[in-house]
């Protein structure tokens, strides 16, 4: 029993760190732009297909899917931002309209992915990220999990450094705190926003590279589920605070794996039950701060 609990806890932490990477891009975009990117899961899915393409069509290691995902996020993100976001910002209810618009974009991406790759599942070679197992406290997990966690930690750490050590990061935090005040202080809000948007998409796509390993396979239809799970994670952590996503991811990972170990049938309810509890008890999320009204 103790061994099972240990395995579930360690597995939950690893799984949670990976899901932090899945959710963090969504939270970054919401924090900066106050818009919910309902196509977030579809960008994760595209990252999975990027890894599939580099591995299957070019015979490269799936990790080359990461630079491809970043380049893809830049190529798609910039024109998408300028085509959509400025118009949304001018509307009377940008948050609500963003829901509808990004929902449409999600459906378009999914349909295009079906055209390009077909509707069936695609997997990656099991040994491409190391075919063995690595242990901690006597509990073994596949190498691919550790690689996914290492990349997640690097990406999240990189984002933290961006926020805390760069001028652009300070400006991003200022925009997240108050868009109008940031503009008044001379910050180029549009430039900050577009960079945050592209970083958000790139983080999502990078996470997608590991989806075939941690979720068995990638297929065009996985996007909506991933968006819903990401949304739950960022609300559990703190909506609008990207680093809070890590806490949300860990709570989600631990909850899911403990439930899977001791009562498997209920495991996919975990994120939503936690979401309801957090919203009722602490609406600002676990790391959220009380809002000061002037």
């Amino acid at each position: 029993m103790v061994s099972l609990l240990e395995y579930a806890v360690i597995g939950g932490i690893l799984f949670g760190i990976f899901f932090s990477l899945i959710g963090i891009g969504l939270n970054l975009i919401f924090g900066v732009m106050r818009m919910i990117n309902l196509a977030h899961g579809q960008f994760v899915m595209l990252g999975g297909f990027a890894a599939f393409v580099v591995s299957h069509d070019f015979g490269l290691n799936p990790l080359f899917g990461i630079p491809l995902s970043i380049v893809g996020a830049i190529i798609i993100g910039y024109p998408l931002y300028y085509a959509v976001v400025p118009r949304l910002q001018k509307s009377h209810d940008p948050e609500m309209l963003s829901f509808i618009l990004f929902f449409g974009i999600a459906q378009v991406i999914e349909a295009l992915a079906i055209f390009a790759f077909g509707a069936d599942q695609r997997s990656l070679p099991g040994d491409a990220l190391g075919g063995g197992n690595l242990g901690i406290l006597g509990q073994d997990f596949p190498d691919s999990w550790w690689v996914a966690v290492a990349v997640s930690v690097i990406a999240i750490g990189g984002l933290y450094l961006y926020f805390s050590r760069t001028k652009l990061g300070y400006a991003t935090r200022a925009v997240m705190a108050d868009r109008d005040e940031a503009r008044a202080t001379g910050i180029n809000v549009d430039r900050v926003s577009v960079i945050a948007f592209v970083i958000g998409l790139a983080l999502a796509a990078c996470a997608g590279v590991f989806v075939p390993y941690l979720l068995g396979s990638v297929s065009p239809d996985i996007g909506d589920n991933l968006t819903a799970t990401s949304f739950a994670i960022i609300i559990i952590g703190s909506l609008g605070d990207p680093i809070g996503t890590v806490v949300g991811g860990l709570v989600f990972g631990l909850g899911t794996m403990l439930m899977q170990t001791f009562y498997a049938s209920w495991s996919n309810l975990v994120p939503y039950v936690l979401l309801v509890i957090i919203v009722l008890i602490r609406p600002t999320g676990l790391l959220g701060r009380a809002v000061r009204h002037a």
């Binding site: 061994s3 099972l4 939950g12 799984f15 079906i114 069936d120 099991g126 068995g216 239809d221």
Partner: protein, 414 residues
């Protein structure tokens, strides 16, 4: 007197002739110019691959009968071309509900064929009954559909899921494998198999060491497998859909865990999809239910036999068919037999025609045998093992003995 009798006879004959003429013209007038067959397929979502294969099989059948001038309809004593009206339900039951309704009430289809599997068929069953339409159900085999007598449901291509694990249970008992773990998806198709397997094993004195459901959408089995391994089972039985099987086999392969016997459902139905995703090495020694075209039926009295179908389908579509393609084609063949024998063009007459065909019809899926509950109990699935052969695996039927093509490798080598 004689004159009046003659006059009466002539009058009667004329009356009969006119009545016959009128009846004939009525038949001709009511015979549709085209027979509308309504169905759904999943263009996306978790059931897309299986659903599209099944739909392809039905389309192949329709194209074939149309090449021959249509399907013979006894009620109208003529051949009528068929037209398939199909919509994309995107693997969503709510979308499927709307679209089944549209097929029945707006398109007014003559025959209704459900989409792949129990999940997407489940919403069609009550709708068809409500509208007094016979639902031709190629692959929806959930036990809950067949709990009572009905005239509006006909499972035509796949045995009801409660009978699927019969051979598996007896095989496990005969092999004296006592420590068995069962993981199953929380849907009717998987749950009814798991429950039936547990029941038969229980009768043989075996109580599973692990018996738990997982969400149908489950995609990560690593921690779950570790929990299962802690019970030290000899055999791990996983009942799921294709996406579950892929995730399960992936996790098993990556985990470094080893069980003497592993069983999953879909390698026997979608072998190329599973091999493409999991790899031949990870599939080696896995047990499954082998289905046509992996097993063949040559003695048929309706439609093509398995070999001919594979040959013709491959030549026309330039891809090999799988079990679901066969199931879709078979649904067409069964409808063809039904229309050929049904004396009237009504849904209840169609159902009666299917019951009359039961036990007398042999197709590329084997014997067609249907109960008055609408369930299919014709050809039960044997048990097979995937044995490595070069870079791939070959299907070896290991049970029952009269169908066996080889012996199982047990325990599976590490």
């Amino acid at each position: 007197m004689i004159k009046s009798k003659t006059r009466m006879a002539v009058g009667l004959a004329a009356g009969v002739a006119m009545a016959a003429l009128a009846a004939g013209s009525a038949s001709a007038a009511t015979a549709p110019s085209v027979l509308k067959i309504g169905t759904l397929y999943a263009g996306s979502g978790p059931f897309a691959v299986a659903s599209q294969s099944e739909y392809q099989g039905l389309q192949f059948w329709a194209a074939n009968v149309n090449k021959a001038g249509g399907v013979f309809v006894k009620a109208f004593d003529k051949k009528i071309p068929v037209k398939i009206i199909a919509y994309d339900d995107q693997s969503s039951t709510s979308t499927a509900t709307t679209l089944y309704n549209q097929l029945i009430t707006q398109d007014k289809v003559d025959l209704l064929v459900s989409d792949f599997g129990s999940v997407l068929t489940s919403v069609a069953v009550p709708l068809a009954a409500e509208h007094h339409m016979l639902l031709i159900d190629p692959t929806g085999s959930g036990a809950n559909f067949f709990t009572k007598k009905t005239r509006y449901l006909a499972d035509v291509s796949i045995p009801t899921s409660t009978v699927w694990p019969e051979a598996l249970a007896h095989y496990l008992l005969e092999q004296k494998i006592k420590k068995i773990a069962i993981i199953y998806g929380s849907n009717d198709f998987d749950a009814s198999q798991a429950t039936e397997l547990k029941r038969v094993l229980g009768k043989g004195g075996v109580d599973p060491v692990y018996f738990h459901s997982v969400p149908t959408t489950e995609s990560n089995y690593t921690v779950l497998l570790h929990t299962v391994a802690a019970r030290h089972p000899d055999a791990v039985i996983e009942f799921g859909y294709a996406n579950n099987d892929i995730a399960f086999l992936h996790a098993l392969s990556a985990s470094g865990l080893h069980f003497n016997m592993t069983f999953t459902v879909f390698p026997g139905q979608l072998l190329s999809l599973l091999t493409k995703n999991v790899g031949a090495k990870a599939l080696a020694y896995t047990y499954t239910y082998p289905t046509p075209p992996l097993v063949k039926y040559s003695d048929v009295n309706a439609g093509m036999n398995t070999d001919d179908f594979v040959k013709e389908f491959t030549a026309e579509k330039h891809e090999a068919p799988n079990y679901l393609t066969v199931a879709g084609y078979n649904a067409g063949v069964i409808m063809q037999g039904m229309l050929k024998t049904s004396p009237t063009f009504s849904q209840t007459a169609f159902d009666q025609a299917l019951l009359d065909m039961s036990g007398k019809t042999k197709t590329l899926l084997g014997e067609f045998r249907m109960t008055d509950h609408g369930s299919q109990i014709g050809e039960l699935f044997p048990i097979a093992q995937l044995i490595p052969e070069g870079d791939s695996n070959k299907i070896v039927v290991v049970y029952p003995k009269d169908k066996a093509t080889g012996t199982a490798v047990y325990p599976a080598p590490k």
